[in-house]
Every structure is written in C-alpha cells, then in structure tokens.
C-alpha cells in the first residue's frame, strides 16, 4: 500500500511535469512559460482551490474541530520558525538575519504543495475537509512576524534596527504582508465559494473544476523551471548544513504537526494535509514580505532553500510520507 502510494504520487502527471521543468532548467534548456501566462496560472489555481474549499465549507457547519485546528495551525506557523532558526544557526552557521528570514519561510506554507497533497489523497481515496484551505490561509502570515522577531538581534548587531521599515512605511509593510496577493486571492475565493455554495460553483465549474488538473500540470512545469533555475544560481550560497536543512526541517515540522494531529484526533486526510502544510515552505508570501521588511537578508539563500530544495523534496518524497504519517497517527 505504502509503495503503491509513493509510486502513484511520483508517477502522477503533475510530479512528472515538475521534474521535466526541473531537469530542463538544470540542463539550461531555453524552455520557458511566458511570464504573464504563468502568473495567470497561479491566480487561476489559487482561485480554484479557494472556491472549492469555500463550497465544501458551505455544506457543513464549522464546529469546535475547525477552531481547534485553526488554533494549532496558528501555533505551528508562529512557532516553527523559532525551531528552524535554531537548527539553521546550529547546523549551517548562517548569520542571524539570513537565518531569521529563512526560518520564516519554514513556518509559512506552500499552497502548491498543499494542492499536490490533495491530489495524492484523492488518488489514494482518502477524504479531506474543505475547510483545510482556510487552515492553509491561517498559516501564511504568522511566520512572517516570527521571522521579524528573530531578526531583531541580528539587526541590532548590525546597527540596522528599523532600517527595513521606517515610520509611515511600517503601515505599508503591514498592509503588504496582510494583503499579499496569495492571501487575498485564496481568502477571497474561499469566501466567494462559501457564499455562493454548490449552486454558484455549478455555473463556473467548466472553467474552475474540469481543466484544473491540466492547468496544474502547466503550472508545475513552470515551478520546475523556477526551482531548477534557482538551484543552479543559488547553490553556491549554501553550505552542506544549509542544504541539509532544506530536507530535514520539513521532516521535523512534519513530526511536530503529527503530534498535534494525535492530540486533536482528526481524520487521516486532514492530518496528512496539516502535516504537509507544516512541512512546506513558502515561496510567494514570505519572500515578498522579507524583501520589504528585511531587505538585508539574501533572497538567493532563502529562495534556493524553499523553492530549490524543500519544494522538490516535498513534492516527490515528502507527500507520500506525510500521507502515511497521517494514516499512521490516526490509526494509533
């Protein structure tokens, strides 16, 4: 069963298209997905995920289960960067500012990893709750605050406290962080799906449901190209400790989330998704926030790790493992 699951995930079209993009970029192929088209694909995917989640939420009454899960998601997103920071400082010798910025990425989430996990769960016949999209949205932002708190000491050492956001710019920073593109689209589509329900979804399903898998393949081809390019350009900035962090940190986060799932006693599908969310690393919301609030940190370090190392690891090996962990923890 576990080998079947791993194989079916690895050999799914979305993973294979990602691998194609990754290999093409590493081999310096000229293949590209046009920029505006790729941005459109990202918007489409987030809208589709949000709508689908919202419709599922409209079918059920949200009870204490959801509230506890949201609370745990908040704790994970806020707390994991502190652990990631410690791990980075101990194993890679990274300076405080870069370690803080990188750690922030590992508390936040990757929505594409989440989608890939839902597809793998669907393939394995394991059901999940629609409200998990809301849980994903909850986990986007708190990690950014943790990263900024962690960076304070490093900024003090450099005498650069307050350099990132001065005076009125703090308001701009808060607005950019809270209203970043991925959060707005995801939460907005979730609310629209919730309000319009099944009837509303029926009208737009030929656009948002039927072509979803194909669009996801196209998007992952582009993600593969981005990850490959990032890895090719940025690996020189990373030592073995940092590269290792990109693989072991998702596993540590997964184990911590696993513990919470056991305490909450949630379903296998939801557990697998929460574990995946905890193990994933952001490459949209957090990099944008870090460039605004912590410009002293090097994007080549945190983007190479989250997009070039952790994302491919999660997509290929991580997701089957997280699904198995979800099944195991709920079977205990």
């Amino acid at each position: 069963m576990s080998l079947d699951l791993a194989l079916s995930t690895l050999l799914s079209p979305i993973v294979l298209f990602f691998v194609l993009g990754l290999i093409a970029a590493l081999l310096r192929s000229q293949m590209t997905v046009p920029e505006a088209f790729a941005k459109g694909l990202a918007l489409y995917l987030m809208m589709a995920i949000g709508l689908k989640g919202g419709v599922e939420m409209s079918k059920a009454v949200l009870g204490p289960d959801f509230i506890f899960l949201a609370l745990i998601a908040l704790i994970l997103s806020f707390g994991l960067p502190f652990l990631a920071y410690l791990a980075l400082r101990l194993t890679s010798g990274m300076d405080r500012i870069n370690a803080a910025a990188t750690a922030g990425h590992y508390g936040s989430i990757s929505i594409v990893t989440y989608v890939a996990a839902t597809q793998a769960l669907q393939l394995a016949g394991i059901s999940t709750s629609g409200y998990m999209v809301a849980i994903a949205a909850v986990m986007e932002v708190p990690a950014i605050m943790s990263a900024l708190m962690l960076a304070r000491k490093g900024l003090k050492e450099k005498g650069a406290i307050g350099e990132g956001a001065i005076g009125s710019e703090r308001g701009e920073l808060v607005r950019e962080v809270m209203l970043n593109a991925s959060v707005v689209v995801l939460v907005g589509a979730l609310l629209i799906g919730w309000i319009t329900g099944e009837a509303g979804m029926e009208k737009i399903s030929p656009f948002f449901v039927d072509p979803f898998q194909g669009v996801l393949c196209l998007f992952l081809l582009d993600m593969g190209l981005s990850a490959g390019r990032g890895l090719r350009q940025g690996w020189r900035d990373l030592n073995v400790g940092a590269l290792g962090f990109g693989v072991y940190m998702p596993l540590i986060s997964a184990m911590i989330a696993c513990g919470f799932c056991y305490v909450l006693n949630i379903s296998a599908g939801n557990a697998a998704l929460l574990i995946t969310l905890a193990a994933s690393a952001s490459y949209i919301a957090v990099p944008a926030a870090m460039r605004l609030a912590l410009p002293q940190a090097q994007p080549s370090i945190y983007l190479t790790l989250s997009l070039g190392v952790t994302f491919p690891f999660n997509l290929t090996l991580g997701i089957p493992l997280y699904i198995l962990l979800g099944q195991w923890i709920t079977g205990l």
Binding site: R229, P287, M290, P295
Partner: protein
C-alpha cells in the same frame, strides 16, 4: 537647450514604491518606470549571478528601472535619500547630464 540631470535607478520591485515616494517628496516633476527583463551581477563573492523576471505573483524578485529628469538643484537631495534606500535594497543608481528642449517641464 537647457541643462538638466537624468537619474536612472534600477531597484527591486518591493522597494519601488519607497523609491517613488522619495522622488515625489524631493519635488521632482515626473518619472517613468519600466520593467527589467533580465540581468547579470558579479557580486561581492565574485560568483557571477544571472537573473530574469520570475513568474511569482508577488513579483518580489523582479527589478524595475526608474528614469527621472530633474533640475540640477534637486539632484543632491534626491541621490542622498536614494543612497540610503539602495544601501538596504538591491539596486543601482546613476546620474548623467542631459539637455532638454522644454525647460518648464522639469
């Protein structure tokens, strides 16, 4: 023809609004912004790095070129403030002498 200063600032997209606010705050009469497609930088480590516009919807890795032509009297104040900005953010600032036909526009 009248002597003016032409300022060119290549700056990362997340700092674009900050740069615009500095220009406007210093009293420049106008500027234009263009997206940068790709580039290369040797960097402090000596490891050359190529970059190109990404497909990330937050555009946090993109670069923007801002061009502004202004009165000679403004250039010192503008460059001083922009120097602080590019001290933190990824960017390149250059100034050149230009001549314009319509003096009142700048």
């Amino acid at each position: 023809m009248f002597d003016k200063k032409r300022l060119e600032l290549i700056i990362e997209k997340p700092a674009f609004k900050r740069a615009c606010r500095i220009l406007e705050g210093c009293g420049v009469t106008g500027y234009s912004a263009l997206p940068c497609m790709a580039g290369f930088s040797l960097g402090e480590s000596g490891n050359g790095r190529r970059w190109q516009r990404g497909t990330d919807i937050s555009a946090s890795g993109d670069m923007v070129l801002i061009i502004s032509i202004m009165d000679v009297a403004l250039i010192d104040a503008v460059t001083q403030k922009l120097e602080v900005l590019i001290g933190m953010h990824i960017g390149v600032l250059s100034v050149s002498d230009v001549q314009v036909i319509r003096k009142d526009k700048f």
